[in-house]
């Protein structure tokens, strides 16, 4: 990090319409801030600056707590039993405790993205210089950092400008984390407001990370035609030395690619990756190959294909060193956050390190220098590959059958499996020589290997599944579009109107991890369904990979079938987890570029606009991590609903609306100032769905907004009713709540809908100019305010 030993700051020079923000002199460099538009009321908001906005949302969407544990064990007073109305020794009740845990999770998530951002920005400034220009889309993107501008009120133009945003984020996360200490915050709704704050900070951190790496590494710059990348175990050329990278922070992976390129070795060594490092590596070099999402880690390692494993940070299995040892593949840890107990060899001679790794003297090393990682990984892979000969620990079919006959049917494996997969039944068939049932589990297995830990006979059950499905795994060959990053301003201008008016029925983002209740195929099927329905479909992270791992009858993956343009019917991979910020950024840009709302430091107004007008919904079908929780909470504060799969209930808290409570759905009509019924749109802010079918129905419903025009609402209702009828077999019973005027009724469903309206005693309503903010009422003095 650049140290500022000398620092003078002139905060602002204000004229009638313009604000010249900050001239700073620091340690020999001059930071000139951009001339920005008039500043909104909350630049760099403190923990409580947006509390009032949060409470407006929390009044509509009340927390439903689902305690994962009845106890609190965070201090030495405890354990305290908080169940059924009891309070702990510190006075905290169950609601506050649950929201406190949610805040802890979101602080962990935000801190993780933030630490990633800080590391990357420091690294890039060191390599490219602090005055390296931020450029995420050339002439196509004028507003490079919409989230940062909205939250912080600054327009970063150079890498070093990002430091101010990071300084702010670090201060805020510390404040938030401190609130979880015993004897601090005691109210659940205030905890929830802080959760939203953590989410907002998280989005800034993610945006800083992604715009820094796009600008510096030459990733696709808002390119709808970003290259198609090979994905799947089957795309790896195992005849070559293979390097596997896994994690989220890409500099080490890039140093590998660079070293190969610089030394003419790019055709001699395969570079393969999992999780977000793989996403970002493929944005850097389209020849890099993606193996799959996070849940592919064990199966890929155990296949013996990787000769060297390079781990950076986040979502890496804690037992990766043990697994690497099993296949005799050296491991290189490259992040201070994940040292794995390995000796720090950063300062040692490269050839000595390579020699120790190849000979097996050192099973792994910690190297905290990215350039060195590249050289060591390549040299080691080339030398160790002929020695290892792709040594794998996959059991033979014979062994599986033999072990299966010894299974005592204790069911410990099934009881340990997150999805209660029928392992015992599959083993019973395997004992008869039929491995098809084991193979069937492959698609549903999340790759956690808890079954193996639980088995009293220590059978390598995960490997049994993978071996049984070996042919299937080796046949995984798909295409994913490289993460394109930001959405172009011109795309926003083109679709802003149709989205806000409701004529594009919605923007659906499939994001997050791969802790699926059934299989990743569900995500692909949902993405395809909504792309066909002419929604704008966005993807990121592991979910983007799951969408790719699907083929139609012609053998094409969804990214080959659908356009990468941010437009109706597109499937748009924005990139790795940190690229989720572009999804928020697109919603913000609709308010800023299309609707011309003031942006800088104007969070509440922009969020109010998005919440009431932009029919966007996030789906994290396999959400697993604390980062996913933080990402979701960033969307909540913008008023964008998020759906998670059933495992998402383990986040302990939903934010649910009550469509049967009319009073909860009042909005100001900005034209008159009257409080009017805006309808339950969106109905929830955070909910878990039981099945893929329920999710699809929920997506269609949660895309409705009070601002929809009659034409737009009719289109949205058409999709909602059509999906409901197809999947549920009946008409939805809440149509009357979403029909404001008869013009809202889909013309092709008119008779059926009108019949329901009559039965429900429906009355015509107005279509408001909706806002939750009194200050947005246009003529307050004339308005009939309640």
């Amino acid at each position: 990090m650049l140290k500022k030993r000398f620092y003078v700051k002139i905060d602002e020079l204000k004229s009638k319409n313009l604000l010249l923000k900050g001239i700073e002199f620091s340690a020999g460099r001059i930071v000139e801030k951009a001339l920005v538009e008039e500043m909104g009321p909350t630049p760099f908001p403190s923990v409580t600056d947006l509390r009032e906005w949060d409470f407006k949302l929390l009044k509509k969407y009340k927390p439903l707590y689902l305690p994962f544990c009845d106890l609190c064990c965070l201090c030495t007073f405890g354990k305290c039993d908080l169940s059924q109305g009891k309070r702990g020794a510190c006075g905290l009740d169950m609601s506050a405790q649950q929201s406190r845990i949610v805040l802890l999770a979101c602080c962990i998530g935000a801190a993780t993205h933030l630490a990633h951002a800080r590391h990357l920005v420091d690294h890039l400034i060191e390599n490219f210089g602090g005055d390296h220009k931020i450029d995420v889309g050339g002439l196509n993107v004028e507003l490079e950092a919409p989230v940062t501008c909205l939250v912080c009120g600054i327009i970063p133009q150079k890498l070093e400008d990002l430091e101010e945003a990071l300084d702010y984020c670090e201060r805020e996360v510390t404040q938030l984390l401190s609130a979880t200490h015993t004897g601090q915050e005691g109210n659940n709704l205030d905890f929830e407001s802080k959760v939203f704050h953590a989410g907002m900070i998280d989005q800034v951190a993610m945006e800083v990370t992604d715009i820094a790496q796009i600008s510096s590494y030459g990733f696709p710059k808002a390119d709808p035609e970003a290259p198609l990348i090979d994905i799947g175990v089957g795309v790896v050329d195992a005849t070559k030395p293979v390097i596997m990278v896994v994690g989220h922070n890409v500099p080490s992976a890039i140093s590998i690619v660079d070293y190969l390129q610089d030394n003419g070795l790019q055709d001699s060594v395969e570079v393969t990756g999992l999780c977000c490092t793989a996403q970002d590596m493929s944005r850097y070099n389209p020849r890099a190959k993606i193996v799959g999402p996070i849940s592919w880690q064990l199966r890929y390692i155990r296949s013996g294909v990787p000769d060297v494993i390079v781990v950076d940070e986040q979502c890496i299995r804690a037992d990766s060193l043990n697994e690497a040892k099993k296949i005799k593949a050296p491991l290189i840890a490259s992040s201070s956050k994940n040292c794995l107990g390995l000796p720090d060899r950063t300062m040692d001679n490269v050839d000595d390190i390579v020699s120790d790794l190849v000979s097996g003297k050192s099973p792994g090393v910690l190297i905290l220098n990215h350039e060195k990682v590249g050289e060591i990984a390549v040299k080691t892979a080339i030398k160790v590959a002929p020695k290892r000969k792709k040594f794998k620990i996959m059991p033979s079919i014979k062994r599986i059958v033999e072990d299966a006959t010894k299974c005592k049917r204790c069911y410990e494996c099934v009881r340990a499996c997150p999805n209660t997969l029928p392992l015992v039944e599959a083993l019973a068939e395997a004992a008869k020589g039929d491995l098809s049932k084991l193979s069937d589990l492959y698609d549903k297995c999340v790759g956690c290997a808890r079954c193996e830990s639980a088995c009293p006979q220590r059978f390598p059950l995960h490997s049994f599944i993978v071996k049984a499905a070996e042919k299937k795994m080796k046949g995984e060959r798909f295409k994913v579009r490289a993460g394109r990053g930001a959405i172009q301003d011109v795309e926003i201008r083109n679709v802003g109107g149709p989205i806000v008016l409701g004529e594009i029925p919605g923007v659906v983002a499939f994001v997050g991890c791969a802790n699926y209740p059934e299989s990743g195929r569900d995500v692909a099927e949902m993405a395809i369904e909504f792309a066909k329905r002419r929604y704008i479909v966005l993807t990121s992270g592991c979910a983007a990979m799951s969408v790719a791992m699907y083929k139609d009858e012609e053998g094409k993956s969804p990214y080959e079938i659908f356009s990468g343009e941010f437009n109706a019917g597109g499937i748009v991979n924005v990139g790795s987890c940190v690229a989720n910020s572009h999804i928020a950024g697109a919603a913000i840009k609709i308010a800023s570029i299309f609707a011309k709302r003031r942006l800088a430091g104007n969070y509440e107004e922009i969020a109010d606009y998005i919440h009431n007008r932009v029919g966007a919904v996030g789906v994290a079908w396999g959400a697993m991590s604390q980062k996913a929780a933080a990402i979701a909470s960033g969307f909540w504060r913008l008023g964008i609903p998020v759906i998670v799969g059933p495992h998402g209930l383990k986040y302990r808290r939903m934010l649910l609306g009550r469509k049967d409570c009319e009073e909860d759905w009042k909005v100001y009509d900005a034209r008159t100032g009257e409080l009017v019924y805006g309808g339950p749109a969106p109905e929830h802010l955070f909910c878990a769905a039981e099945t893929k079918e329920e999710t699809m129905v929920m997506i269609a419903k949660l895309c409705m907004r009070p601002n929809d025009t009659a034409k737009g609402r009719a289109i949205k209702l058409t999709h909602y009713i059509d999906l409901y009828k197809r999947l549920y077999g009946i008409m939805p019973d809440d149509i009357h709540l979403f029909v404001r005027t008869l013009a809202d009724v889909p013309i092709t469903m008119r008779d059926d809908v009108v019949k329901i309206l009559d039965e429900k005693g429906w009355k015509e309503n107005i279509i408001p100019d909706p806002t939750l903010l009194l200050r947005m009422v246009k003529r307050r003095e004339e308005a009939k305010l309640e």
Partner: protein
């Protein structure tokens, strides 16, 4: 496997744990005694075979015999309707949980909050959490898990039992209603 411990090994409950249904007649008695019961049926009953019949057929029969209100979650409503049974409502599991923790809610019939909720057909961990929410925030509601795995956060639950025992228990509950 007949032991009152959670089916998923790590889902250890808090101090308050479900009473074990040692005799199926207990369920029938709870249902008969309840003033306003509801049965919440998840998608897991699809494809669930009870030997001679599908689980859904049993649920329909029990609902008709007992008169309990049926809330069908996710897409299970389609199967009910195709079998000629109209549940009282199609609603998501999370939404019905949210309603059940509200003491002022009057139920789907507009009369009063439910006093007994019977759950079946959900992923184990999902039901575990839903029941935990209700245990902690719906003090006046009794909950029963009719699945074959011990759900510690219910008021009443079967222990972990074999499919055969489960079928026998379910049949015994039905018999209680047939006998009046």
């Amino acid at each position: 496997m007949n032991r009152p411990e959670p089916w998923q090994t790590a889902e250890t409950p808090g101090p308050e744990k479900a009473l074990v249904i040692t005799k199926p007649e207990i369920v029938a008695a709870l249902l008969k005694r309840a003033k306003h019961p509801i049965m919440i049926v998840g998608h897991g009953i699809l494809g669930c075979n009870l030997g001679k019949e599908e689980m859904i057929d049993y649920v329909i029969r029990l609902a008709r015999l007992s008169g309990v209100t049926v809330a069908a979650t996710s897409h299970i409503v389609k199967e009910f309707v195709e079998k000629g049974f109209q549940p009282a409502v199609s609603i998501s599991a999370i939404e019905i949980t949210d309603r059940l923790r509200d003491p002022s809610w009057k139920g789907f019939d507009g009369n009063r909050q439910y006093d007994l909720a019977i759950f079946l057909g959900f992923p184990y961990y999902m039901e575990w959490l839903i029941l935990s929410g209700l245990k902690n925030f719906s003090p006046d509601l009794k909950t029963v898990s009719l699945d074959k795995f011990y759900q510690p956060n219910a008021s009443w639950s079967f222990p972990n039992i074999s499919t055969e025992e489960w079928i026998n228990n379910l049949n015994a509950i039905e018999k209680e209603f047939r006998n009046g």
